[in-house]
Symmetry: C2
Subunit: 491 residues, 2 copies
């Protein structure tokens, strides 16, 4: 796949001097339109052979476009600052907002490529990384990111020649180092591994664009034009029709679902509750001070019917914990920084460090609950969310983050009683709004959404705990017991 990038492409100076100013002006104009409309974010990945001009291209883009609306990223998916977050955290962290351009010279491709070439991972492991990358890029594309991937190529001969030229002059000799020469010796291994990766990750939404790196003028015009065309096309295309139909889904024809199997009639005596609560909180506290607790982290997601008692249950958990060990993240309206990025971004940004717990009061599941029911996203958007969420949680679990997910269910009658009680109590007043009454009218839609959610996202690694919450004491004990057992198992 590198053949056409070894043809010795060249552009003469006259043509370059003529075309360059026009291209720059057009590129800037497109960038400004992008900034002004905030239509989508652009991610540009620069990969390729050392000496083929990755660094020069990076500088070129910063000179040609307005760097105030761009960021340059050279992250490797490792580092101390992860402090327990999954490797992809650094890339999520660096995702550009709508209207902005992010250039990555070190990207999610760097580590798998290097590790495979150095023989630190086998092809099977590499293919797992490739799968992860494909899912990430698919998600980015679905969320509206324009993803441009350039591979700058040089033949082995051209690479050698380039290094020699750079070394000859004292002013450029610092640009070649021992690693470069070492990698030149491993050229064939690099090329075959790169080819494998590039083939597997060239998709319709984000194909690799292989560019011959030998002639600077050819390289500049080629890359500049490709970026211009892609941004231009996306700016000019009409907004995507929303509500695209997803494939068929199964609905249980006997109308029996997970929620129907719940026994909401159980109750517990208050004195028994008090004793059990204290015992479970004690166990939880001891587990959180376990010497291996610092080797893992915990993510809890609380979802449930309105008025099911999420807040009260969360407080019974935090009461047992040292305040240094947890964060509670309530999910309300997103900030503008969050709105301008894929919906999972706000959850990635709050992932706990090692030895800490993040409790989400409502979570990424809002995508398949309220956003689905209220039609805030299209059917294909929430349908793909199940897979995206499973991928997200799999990355957490793989990285020694214990994932605990609760659905607190109450009956429709119990909800009505609680709504009325809230209206009657001055300091509970704020907990009940017109929105709650409106949501209640969509009870059945939510029920379907919850059943689908549990069915599609209860995995071995991150199972749902569905809790009968008509009796709030029982519900709190279940919440604590589930957490204690999950921690017990993990420690």
């Amino acid at each position: 796949m590198f053949e056409s990038a070894e043809l010795g492409h060249e552009i003469d100076k006259d043509r370059y001097d003529k075309e360059e100013p026009e291209l720059r002006a057009a590129l800037l104009k497109a960038q400004y339109e992008l900034v002004k409309t905030d239509k989508f974010p652009v991610v540009i990945i620069l990969g390729g052979v050392d000496g083929a001009g990755k660094g020069d291209t990076l500088n070129l883009l910063n000179a040609w476009m307005d760097p105030r609306h761009m960021s340059t990223n050279a992250l490797r998916p490792v580092g101390d600052d992860l402090v327990g977050r999954p490797p992809m955290w650094r890339f999520w962290h660096a995702l550009p907002a709508n209207g902005r351009v992010a250039v990555f010279v070190g990207s999610w491709y760097s580590r798998p490529l290097i590790d495979r070439v150095y023989g630190e991972i086998k092809t099977a492991k590499l293919d797992q990384h490739i799968d992860e990358i494909l899912r990430l890029e698919q998600m980015l594309a679905d969320e509206g990111t324009l993803l441009l991937k350039f591979w700058l190529h040089l033949s082995k001969k051209a690479q050698k020649k380039r290094f020699k030229e750079l070394e000859e002059h004292s002013s450029t000799s610092w640009r070649v180092n021992a690693t470069d020469w070492k990698h030149l010796e491993m050229y064939d291994k690099f090329q075959s591994t790169a080819e494998h990766i590039l083939r597997a990750t060239s998709t319709a939404e984000a194909p690799w664009l292989v560019v011959e790196g030998g002639d600077e003028r050819y390289r500049n015009l080629t890359i500049g034009r490709a970026i211009l065309d892609s941004i231009r096309r996306r700016l000019d295309e009409p907004a995507k029709p929303r509500g695209v139909r997803a494939a068929a889904r199964l609905t249980p024809i006997d109308d029996v679902s997970v929620l129907d199997r719940l026994d909401l009639s159980q109750t517990i005596d208050k004195e028994v509750y008090k004793d059990e609560l204290a015992e479970l909180q004690g166990r939880l506290n001891r587990l959180s001070r376990h010497k291996r607790f610092d080797k893992l982290s915990v993510v809890c997601a609380f979802e449930g019917s309105d008025a099911a008692g999420k807040g009260g249950a969360i407080r019974r958990v935090t009461q047992a914990l040292d305040a240094r060990k947890y964060d509670v993240i309530p999910i309300a309206a997103p900030t503008d920084e969050e709105k301008a990025r894929p919906y999972l971004w706000r959850f990635w940004r709050n992932l706990p460090e090692r030895g800490r717990m993040t409790i989400y009061d409502r979570s990424w599941y809002e995508r398949v609950l309220v956003e689905r029911v209220e039609g805030y996203c299209s059917e294909s958007d929430w349908m793909r969310a199940y897979g995206e969420i499973n991928d997200f949680e799999a990355q957490l679990v793989k990285n020694k983050i214990v994932v605990v997910k609760y659905w607190l269910q109450i009956s429709k009658d119990e909800q009505l009683a609680r709504f009325k009680a809230r209206e009657a109590t001055p300091f509970k007043n704020h907990k009940i709004t017109q929105e709650d009454w409106r949501n209640r009218e969509k009870w059945d839609d939510y029920r379907t959404a919850v059943n689908d959610m549990v069915e599609r996202t209860s995995t071995n690694e991150a199972p749902w705990t569905v809790i009968a919450a008509n009796d709030k004491y029982l519900a709190r004990l279940s919440v604590l017991r589930t957490l204690v057992e999950a921690l017990d198992k993990a420690l």
Copy 2:
């Protein structure tokens, strides 16, 4: 100062049951008004004796107020996740936005208190910490934060009794640990150190409120009422008059200032420039690969007249660096998350990790440049900013962050020529806006602001480099040379 918190305050159940619901309702109402108006942020610090109810108060606040608009923080000013940032970074990170409440149980007071009690620092060092805290809190108050500091007190006898009670029951015994007993033995030392700290940090804007912790009902009502009153008062008070006059300032009566001493007429030959540029870039690159480079970090701030060539100079720096080593942060309009916090917050959040460089294209100095000249903030705001900025940079330098600050100056004629050239070149068009022409009309105001800025913020640790930039080649070489020399010295 703890006498009135050892009187055995108590509230009986009847009175509590009567007053509690009213207080909760009023507190929630105030919180909702705060959320709705986004008027100011609230920081609540809970300090005090172990067993006096810090944890319980934290839970209480989360139960009484709406936790979706609050955060709980228990940060200590140490930790792996600092990766080279100054200790205060964690607190800056956790500062609440307007309209939100942040409760800190571990705060900027924790470390100095503990370190002094354990004899790890002397009183002189403690007093340095106290000075830093006073300046931080002054800045928060000036920026509009409502800061409430509660100290929960127990006499030695009461503390001992409390621990025994907790240990007696298996359901609460986990709440007392070995450290608690150890600290009880050190009670007197803790008390005298705390008294010293509390006295020194009780200011008009943020006095310590000492609360007797023995009786839960007394404690709850006292703290709840104090929070309610403070928030209520701030909500009800009329907006502060802006433009308060600061104290007198000196203006040089001979009208000779730093900028006048610059010789803008120097030039350099292009060929000489090319050679020197390559040499300096080579030196910079080698320094950035120095084995001790990973032990420090670098912050560069670029300021200058419009069209002075900041962008071009920055590119000459980044060209010499591995893209993994730097970030360029352009300072444009703040996001809503940034706008809702003190103006230095956006700079704190982008501080580099160890072994990395953050280049700010425009910086925190905008506060005393454009915000001063355009009247975006009051005179007292920008006058206090000099001190706040010096504090900020001192923290960086103390933490092995090399701070390099550039002012690029061109003449008024040169600026006119560059503006016209920009208008005439299609791909430079975007660089010139009506705003530039408007700023130009305020040339003399900016000149005064720059002179004041250099005079007040050029410190030994973080000096200004004022650069004659009429010749852009010379300017770029100066920029690089300054950076190379600063790194040379630091390494």
